[in-house]
């Protein structure tokens, strides 16, 4: 394994017709990390996970899970993975939850029956109900049970809380945290509800139109994105560049910016422009990601 990374991709490219889905994506998910893959709808989050499952074939580039090539050693790579797909619902609608779990358990030697029962109970899944009669949220929960119950080394979760009501949503995240405490797991989780993973995620990757525009640890992100509160002399004009970055609020003698970049360098630049930096505040994960996206879009 290269440097303790559980999931890596190298120069992943994917096109659908003329549309670019992925462009030179080099993902690095460190082992044991909770990696939040952020981005708007259609940014390439699902496609990335599908390539990792070998459900989609990349036009160029390779991917590895636990050091196993996802194409050449697909079955072995997938044996390390619990996957919650993009869409809820299950083709095997005629099967009961119980028989579906039994079916899937045959594929994983590490399937933990007691844990599967415990999870189903926590999620309030009726085991005798047919998969086809489940609501969107319920079938999402069933997918989560199927992904977690064999305690895989890697979890690939594609918007796992999508379609869940707020109560179940928070219970799901609690169960995920509990799972993480019990089982050494690497989680790659795609979402546009970043705030949910505020204290769970420790790494972030940001996809914008198929490009991975940022990839860093939580701490690094907090150092890179900050809210700068500055005192300015009256009649002061912001530089063009700072204007472009967007002023959050500005009074006669005070202004506030959310800026992306090296903190010391930015402070120097603001000082040079005649402003006095009073405070640099670090942002919540979701806000930091949005700041990053805003900066990339205007670039």
């Amino acid at each position: 394994m290269s440097g303790g990374d559980a999931v890596t991709t190298h120069g992943l490219c994917k096109r659908y017709g003329g549309e670019t889905a992925l462009e030179e994506v080099n993902l690095r998910v460190p082992e044991g990390g909770v990696y939040v893959l952020a981005g708007a709808n259609g940014a390439g989050k699902s496609t990335t996970l599908k390539v990792l499952m070998n459900l989609e074939r990349a036009d160029a580039g390779t991917a590895e899970i636990q050091g196993l090539d996802t194409v050449r050693r697909g079955p072995e790579a997938r044996a390390q993975v619990g996957y919650v797909p993009e869409r809820p619902g299950h083709g095997y609608g005629w099967m009961t939850c119980r028989s579906l779990m039994k079916h899937v358990s045959a594929y994983y030697a590490t399937w933990d029956h007691a844990y599967a029962d415990r999870l189903s109970l926590a999620f309030g899944l009726g085991l005798d109900r047919r998969a086809g009669t489940l609501s969107k949220g319920e079938s999402r929960r069933l997918q989560l049970v199927l992904a977690l119950a064999h305690r895989p080394p890697v979890l690939l979760l594609d918007e796992p809380t999508d379609g869940l009501d707020p109560v179940v949503r928070s219970r799901t995240l609690s169960l995920l945290a509990e799972h993480l405490a019990d089982t050494p797991t690497t989680i790659l989780i795609s979402t546009h509800q970043i705030h949910e993973l505020e204290s769970l995620g420790d790494h972030v990757g940001i996809l914008l139109q198929g490009r991975l525009v940022a990839q860093m640890s939580r701490d690094e992100l907090q150092r890179t994105v900050g809210r700068y509160r500055v005192e300015v002399p009256s009649g002061w004009q912001a530089t063009h560049e700072l204007h472009a970055a967007g002023v959050l609020s500005s009074g006669a003698r005070e202004a506030q910016w959310t800026l992306v970049g090296d903190q010391r360098e930015l402070v120097d630049r603001l000082t040079l422009a005649g402003a006095h930096v009073r405070e640099v505040e670090s942002l919540a994960l979701a806000d930091a990601v949005h700041a990053f996206l805003a900066q990339e879009v205007t670039r």
Binding site: E31, P75, M95, H103, A106, P152, P184
Partner: protein, 298 residues
Amino acid sequence: MTSTTFHSPPRTRDVLLAQIRAVGVAPQGPALAAMAVVALATLFITIESLKTGKGIAFHPERQMLPGIMGLLLPIMVWRGEERFGASFLWTLPVDRWRHALAKVFAGWVWLMGGVALFVFWSLALTLLSGGTILAEETLRLLRSVSLASRTLDPAAVETVRWTPEPLLWLAPLTSATATYLLASALGLGTRHPLRWIVGSVIGFYVVSGVGEAANGVWLGFEPLLESVFEGPYGLDALLTARTTFLNIEATLTTGDRVEVWRALPDAGQWATATLLWMGAGLVTLLAAAFRHREGRRA
């Protein structure tokens, strides 16, 4: 947190058993309906034969039903699987080519069970109605194939003694297998199997229509089709050991309507046809499943 361990993919045996179980619960509804229809149909035959007092003859090789079963079963086996998409089957940790074949195998196991049940059912009916299974029969045979016109001179027909060929009783199993393999190949290899079927039927009529309009510029198209369906190694040979083609109804000049045979069923010919069709089915299936293989880089 400690480093994680390698999780091994499942053993082939476990995959096969899991698939057999999964297919077993899938088509319950349609299977029950089919069984009801068969039971009802055979009930009428039995009542008829009890009226005439003759026992029912045991001719599993003359039944089209197993072939049709094999043809339709893949629809149920692959129900709910997005074969060309993010199917649940493909997310499991098994080589996709083998996994597709494992599922086809699982369906085949149930198919053989169903066909065997059908054969035993007709055997039971034969025995219950007082028929015997190995009794010699008297058949009317045409002296010359070319004489196969609507009305026949009785002199053109001879009677022969014929003992049933037990080897031909395998025909239901083999014909179901061959049609099942071909239908599975169509289902696995094409995104829209129904469009292909409808398309080829329309294509056939268009080509033959054009052929007729062009006044017999046929380029051997019709004889080819004929041999595929009714030739010595054609579909009919596979499904019913050619009995559908060989066995015809004719009116004698005396006015009697009788069953006559163009030739007697030939076990050797049937075996060859069966091997040919099953081989073709297997090859196309392997090729179709290969479309879903793991290592294809675009």
